[in-house]
Subunit: 383 residues, 2 copies
Amino acid sequence: MELYVLEHRLQVGSIPRDAIAPFTHGLVKLILLRDKTKCKFLSLTRTADEYSIIIDQEGLKELEPLSDQLSLVNSVWYAQNVSAGALGSGTGKASGITKIAKALILPLAEAQVPVFVMSTYQTDFILVQEKDLDTSIECLRSHFKIFREVEGETIEVPNSGSKGETTPTRGETNSREISHPLVAPPTRFSVTSLDPDTLPKVATILLDILFYADPSPEGSDADFFSFSIIDGDISLVMDTETLTRFPSNALFTSATGECWKMIKIGAVPLGFDECGIVAQVSEPLAEADISMYYISTYRYDHTLVPEEEMDGVVKVLLSRKAKINGAASSEGKEGEEDKDKTQSSSCTEGMDCSEAPSSAPVEREETMEQQDPTTSEPANTYY
Amino acid sequence: MELYVLEHRLQVGSIPRDAIAPFTHGLVKLILLRDKTKCKFLSLTRTADEYSIIIDQEGLKELEPLSDQLSLVNSVWYAQNVSAGALGSGTGKASGITKIAKALILPLAEAQVPVFVMSTYQTDFILVQEKDLDTSIECLRSHFKIFREVEGETIEVPNSGSKGETTPTRGETNSREISHPLVAPPTRFSVTSLDPDTLPKVATILLDILFYADPSPEGSDADFFSFSIIDGDISLVMDTETLTRFPSNALFTSATGECWKMIKIGAVPLGFDECGIVAQVSEPLAEADISMYYISTYRYDHTLVPEEEMDGVVKVLLSRKAKINGAASSEGKEGEEDKDKTQSSSCTEGMDCSEAPSSAPVEREETMEQQDPTTSEPANTYY
């Protein structure tokens, strides 16, 4: 398997929800006027109380003059991703970071490397801080052939020879407990994309949603909209109600037309130094072969799992001593707010998520097509 | 003839060209997300060194918190416009403020009322300061039946009885000299409009032009782009090169497909208290029955005249002792920069201005259709 360490020097930052105005000028340019900027990596996620941003150095220049309203993590991050071919080589049918949980997420957790995960429609990026990059590369050697991008060229990283292929291990890997409370809002999400050439057609819709959305009534956990444009690939994560605002033929949806449920991780901001948060959730879901996306933001992490797997997910997480608010469990803890929706297994509300465009794009799409929903067993057969 | 005093309480302001970023958030909302704002009157004109803005109180709220980068004239302005029917009742065939020069512009100049003029594709607005409004109404009584908008209702303004229909007069009306230097850049302009429903389709183009245009090499007098949205009517004034960036069917152009030349008035900012600036230019052009638009900005005024009338315009203005830079005159003062373009009478460069949309809109359009270009005499026959 091949792992690529991208050359973007990334910053992770946060802007309070009500302080976005001074940054709109730069962000509109970064999002809509691509030929005017050298930025190659931008992710902007609107949550109830912040805009979480991942941005390269060229992009950051567009936000200047930087004000104290933009909080930046005091380190540079490097994004790593795994080649699409490698993703397809796993045995399980699940997609997203489930594919890379054992080979990438777990070894980094074992090596005490904190990670920031950015799933997109196309792929998953695992971000590590600059100080952890060498450790990260060493501990992933046994799983991947590792390449680094240097000034646009891809070069293989030679074996340093010292530690070689030894990976730090921990005895009790399988009993990793979930350390943060989880919240599972009833909202249904869609993970989608659009052709960059289509961006102008949906510009006003995007602007409205990103910068002029009314604040949620009470800082809702379901208030979540993520836009990223990374090396030309656009990825969008939004609730299915927001999805209906886009013209039906503007967005790509996955071939399997899945809707996703979100599990927000953390009751207080997670910080950037704790290790193993992603592993705690991804390891048991990978064992159960359940697909998942994962989106870290400045304050909280967010797992997205297929709506029809939600019952199984809750069982799996409860078995790891998770405290879950808002999700129905098999133990009869029916969440009040989602009683109407949790059991629905099809995606018929709002826009029809199952409408796949004729021009089906990119790696993620291929990966997802390997999932045949007709052979999926019901969620609760996993336990 | 009927004159309407609109109820918008307008502010006139200026933002330095390089200080627009903090205002982009509010302006994008005002321009592109019309259903999110109560603003009814917005005009934004980008020149070489400033953004000149005319905005109502509701619009101004969207720009808060106001910074000292936004300079506002310390008074409220009221916009007056003349009914389309009245415009058509004149004897001449010329359009724009030529139609209202004698009945409105000259009387206000005689009455020592400084005005700010905002021509749009649809109509012309004559703005007067609140302190001058009563004087303005009194001196226009002899020419117009006057109405005021009050809370959406249009009510006729009763005659105050005191001064009645007496209009201040000045003996030497016909020898009004032009007091400010004029500059006539070679650039050709188009005055156009678009259906508000079309706005989303051209959103990224508009954003790019309005907020992310590269600064002109040396503060060019031809750097001019005006956007206004007034009671739902959109008006755009741009050079013909910029026009080519829009899809060919997106914009309305006048039925006669005219291109316009601009004459910038003033070498130093004109201020807001001097009377008669508009009259100095509009009176002789009206006498010569030459169509003209007029756009006041925070610093300078701008007259737009039909390209094919430019020779005549120059002669007329020179006869009023104007100092004109950059324009060819009949006395052989061929301007160097426009030697290739001044003589061209058709509008073939860039987009074809003569393409009229099937859905020809609004008053201005009707007015312009009364002009039959085939009967127009050559410019120099006026003198």
